[in-house]
């Protein structure tokens, strides 16, 4: 069918078209390479020449706000801890309160007035003097403005009045005694900057850089979900950090973050899975830090949801109101298996409410108090409580129906699901059915009290007041329609009395003793079965970080400490200047490769264009 066209001409036009396209393509490629070659490696070389030491930390959580008045997420509050100094700090060894902006503090005899001596000669990062007036202004703003009280409002609910009689003296008057006055984790902001803010509920503090602060680092750059950049604060009273830059970089995928660590693109990753930590262990230039955690991992029982006025709601199983049943469930859980099989060794077996890293408050049940793993005893307790097995081997409730507990679990937490499978097996042997409700949104059924048991867990602060307060009757919602601060509706007179005593006790030893009694009472009631204290598993590059302080110092974690010890203390490794990124030498290749991708499209397009115009000429 082909036309008998002069073959010579056709072929020659083909060749010329082809060579033209080829020449054009080559020229474009050279242009790209030419543009990329001199410029792309330049910043890399410059960085190496300056020897700028950058500590890069992989993070996954988005910043909710950079305003310390609004931020509640861990990533944001950790960054605020680096930007702003608090009144007090926590000792890196045992987390007892130590001076921050305040050098000394004394309560009055009636326990209602606290006087703080504010460090003199301290400056904000812009050189302005930092005085007691800044501190008073910060607290007063939180007390008078709902927007400013969003994140840290709970710290000031018991404040009556805050004044600054002199630049180095701060006075806080309380409504009733409060032992947590050395644990006010409130970032203090510069009055001369923040008094210009109009609406505290909307101002996110993320537009004008650098952001003036008083902590070890100054925030110099931020791009949502890309990076947060901090540089040392030369005015920091404790001395400036040693790295030239601290960069929080976003890795939304854990495996990608681990790859970045292996490559040296980031210096530090946290939240490692057992598989990831096993893969990193023993690799050159990488140290895995498997540290005792600050969280507890528990199974909470619905004790019958109720509001402060005594109104009952929700539909928790009535059998759980019997202490013997709760103890039976407790004793049918093999914690050792949970640690070995579920956490794969990256956790410590739990008993008391507060993890062992907080040595002052750590508590263990005595031998005769201990509810050890004993399925036979558990079955016996259930029999005693009147929940006997029927002919099918199922335990029946008072209503005559077989007992089947609904267990709330977090759909995103593989540990919940794995432990849930074990519960099904263990409690199944007792004759009790288990339905695992793994949800993305556990908050709603939780607040409504429409569950029987739930996987629970909290991060514990050096001052345990908060995690203890969530089990007091005062934390219950005022009415079923409202939200309480309660964890799972526990309300126990004996517990409440002890709680009130510890809050009013200003003697640290006596208070610690009361805190232990509180945990003992909580354990005895059987509402909370603390199964484990999961470890914090992290890893960093030893060729970038020479040394870094963990908290507690001898065996502790690095990310999310109380205080700024880790990043403030980090010492760059001698070689870190040029090892921060291996791609420097490959700059040319990268430029060309990036160009090639664009050229694949452009080349095809151009070739087609050339041909179609040639066709037109034919």
């Amino acid at each position: 069918m082909k036309p008998p066209a002069p073959p010579g001409r056709a072929r020659s036009s083909w060749r010329s078209r082809r060579s033209r396209a080829l020449r054009l393509g080559t020229a474009t490629l050279l242009l790209w390479a030419g543009l990329a070659t001199p410029l792309s490696p330049a910043p890399q070389q410059a960085a190496a020449a300056e020897g700028k030491k950058v500590l890069t930390v992989a993070v996954a959580q988005s910043v909710d706000s950079l305003s310390p008045f609004l931020a509640t997420r861990l990533v944001s509050t950790s960054i605020h801890r680096l930007m702003y100094e608090n009144l007090t700090n926590y000792d890196v060894k045992d987390a007892h309160p130590i001076p921050g902006l305040a050098t000394k503090w004394t309560p009055s005899a009636d326990k209602l007035t606290w006087t703080y001596a504010i460090r003199s000669g301290t400056k904000w990062s812009d050189g302005e003097p930092l005085t007691a007036e800044d501190v008073a202004w910060t607290f007063n703003k939180m007390m008078s403005d709902d927007g400013a009280g969003t994140a840290n409002g709970s710290y000031i609910t018991n404040f009556a009045k805050v004044t600054a009689p002199s630049p180095t003296e701060l006075v806080i008057q309380l409504k009733k005694p409060q032992a947590t006055m050395t644990a006010l984790d409130v970032p203090i902001v510069p009055k001369h900057i923040w008094e210009k803010v109009e609406d505290f509920s909307e101002f996110n503090n993320d537009k004008a850089f650098p952001i003036v602060g008083s902590g070890p680092f100054v925030l110099t750059g931020y791009k949502a979900d890309s990076y947060v950049r901090l540089e040392p604060n030369k005015n920091f009273w404790r001395g400036a950090p040693k790295f030239d830059e601290l960069l929080f970089k976003y890795y939304k995928d854990g495996d990608a973050a681990v790859a970045a660590l292996q490559k040296g693109e980031v210096s530090f990753v946290n939240n490692l899975t057992p598989a990831q930590s096993a893969a990193l262990k023993g690799q050159k230039n990488i140290k895995v830090n498997d540290a005792p955690g600050r969280r507890f991992y528990a199974l909470a029982t619905n004790p019958g949801a109720r509001s402060k006025d005594g109104e009952r709601f929700g539909d928790g199983h009535p059998s759980l109101l019997d202490e013997r049943v709760r103890h039976a469930l407790f004793m049918a859980v093999d914690r050792e298996t949970v640690i070995d099989k579920v956490f794969q060794g990256h956790a410590v077996e739990g008993e008391g409410y507060i993890p062992p890293r907080f040595a002052d408050y750590f508590w263990k049940p005595s031998a005769d108090q201990k509810l050890a793993y004993d399925p036979a005893k558990a079955a016996q307790l259930l029999d005693e409580a009147g929940y006997k097995k029927n002919s099918d081997g199922k335990r029946v409730g008072k209503d005559g129906k077989p007992i089947n507990y609904r267990v709330l679990c977090h759909a995103t937490d593989p540990n919940d699901k794995a432990v849930g499978q074990y519960l099904t097996e263990w409690w199944g042997e007792l004759g009790i059915g288990v339905t695992l409700n793994c949800l993305d949104n556990v908050t709603d059924p939780w607040l409504a009290g429409t569950y029987d048991l739930a996987f629970d867990g909290w991060s514990v602060n050096p001052d345990p007041d908060f995690v203890l307060s969530i089990h007091t009757c005062a934390a219950l919602p005022a009415s079923p329609e409202e939200t309480g601060a309660t964890d799972n509706f526990i309300c126990d007179k004996q517990y409440d009395d002890l709680y009130a005593k510890q809050l009013a006790e200003y003697d640290p030893d006596k208070r610690a003793d009361l805190v232990k009694q509180l945990q003992s009472r909580l354990y005895d009631t059987g509402y909370m079965n603390v199964m484990a204290y999961p470890n914090a598993v992290e890893a960093y590059r030893t060729d970038q970080i020479e040394s870094i302080t963990t908290m507690p110092e001898d065996a502790g974690n690095i990310y999310g400490q109380d205080g700024y010890w880790s990043w403030w203390s980090a010492v760059p490794a001698a070689a870190s200047g040029d090892s921060s990124d291996g791609s420097g030498s490959a700059g040319v290749l990268i430029g060309v490769a990036a160009g090639v991708v664009v050229l694949v499209g452009a080349g095809v397009f151009l070739a087609m264009r050339r041909r179609s115009t040639a066709e037109d000429r034919e």
Binding site: D225, D253, F605
Partner: protein, 354 residues
């Protein structure tokens, strides 16, 4: 697309060339096209409104009180809860919330994000360019590649090249994108064996570069995610183009064209391909609409700060205004692109819309 332009000239240009005597057909053609356009635009407007309604009510069906969710685990007094409800307009009856939402949406105000305390429009305009850069680049590449390889494949269907082509496309198309992405990170970012780690492991920029260095830096970060997207997406365009062209291949007009003595190459590009373009154009426009939504998995694996990641965060709270706003924007993009495709059809094929 050059065909589309010339076709457009043909439909609008022909009557004009014919002179005043051809006035009547001209107005009739223009009239039918205008009616067609009006119909399509009205349809799009109705769809957009339906999306607005759906986006409002659908996410109200998610059980729970967003204020309780936001403040869960924190000590919040009843007054504070009431303040939040008032602030977010949740104390109003549903109907008033809806009219309020619609009224504001018309002025481009999609409300305030609960978790970020920032206007939804700001959060979207912050992430949208990033998503468009990533998925837009990938879109151009996979469309060109898909159409190009698709026509080649169809023209030589059944041969080894065709089988290799479609086989590879189908294999890549069926790969999970996050898996391929991770594989590329391990091989080309970290480096493996003789392959050096050439590309960054994630993100859109190293942070701190400016000017041209910034452009190069972003291009450098762009390579792997784009390659991933192109690899998994081009197959679809290839297969649609191929099958559409195969349908045309037996056509008598092609035999006629060949009989006229036209070269095979010319027959393909000038006669067969333009006629086979309709389904491909539909697919291209649907894909174009989807580029706005980004690709959640690829954005996650490469930590690309785009709309996909934002949508995931919004859903996990759930941050109602942000979820609603994003849902609306995603749906609107598809509607607008489909409408554009509809408007272009009569220009490609004069039989449509008559």
């Amino acid at each position: 697309m050059s065909r589309a332009a010339s076709a457009a000239e043909a439909t609008t240009g022909d009557p004009a060339l014919a002179g005043p005597s051809a006035g009547e057909p001209r107005t009739r053609t223009a009239y039918t096209y205008a009616r067609y356009v009006a119909g399509k635009l009205a349809g799009a407007a109705v769809s957009l409104f339906a999306v607005l309604v759906t986006s409002f009510f659908l996410f109200r069906l998610i059980p729970g009180d967003p204020v309780k969710f936001m403040t869960g685990g924190r000590q919040v007094s009843a007054e504070q809860l009431a303040t939040y409800r008032r602030e977010f307009g949740l104390d109003l009856p549903l109907w008033e919330q809806f009219t309020d939402y619609c009224g504001k949406a018309l002025t481009g105000d999609l409300g305030t994000s609960y978790q970020f305390r920032a206007p939804v429009v700001d959060k979207i305009t912050e992430a949208l360019p990033n998503t468009l850069l990533l998925t837009g680049t990938a879109f151009v590449l996979y469309t060109v590649l898909g159409v190009f390889l698709g026509t080649r494949s169809a023209w030589r269907h059944g041969r080894l090249g065709d089988r290799l082509n479609t086989g590879l496309a189908l294999t890549l198309y069926s790969l999970p994108s996050f898996w391929l992405g991770l594989l590329l990170i391990i091989v080309f970012s970290v480096g493996m064996g003789p392959i050096p780690g050439l590309f960054p492991t994630g993100g859109m920029e190293s942070g701190g570069e400016e000017g041209f260095a910034y452009v190069v830096d972003v291009a450098h970060h762009l390579v792997l995610p784009v390659v991933t997207l192109v690899a998994v997406e081009y197959g679809q365009t290839l297969l649609v183009t191929r099958s559409a062209l195969l349908d045309e291949m037996g056509g008598d007009y092609l035999t006629t064209a060949r009989a006229k003595g036209l070269r095979d190459d010319l027959v393909r590009r000038r006669h067969a391909v333009p006629n086979a373009m309709l389904p491909t154009v539909t697919l291209i426009f649907v894909n174009l609409g989807r580029t706005v939504a980004g690709v959640i998995l690829v954005e996650t694996v490469f930590s690309w700060p785009g709309l996909g990641g934002l949508f995931y965060q919004a859903l996990s709270v759930p941050d109602l205004p942000l979820v609603q706003g994003l849902f609306f924007v995603f749906a609107a993009a598809v509607i607008v692109m489909n409408t554009l495709a509809d408007l272009i059809y009569p220009l490609l094929d004069p039989r449509v819309g008559r």
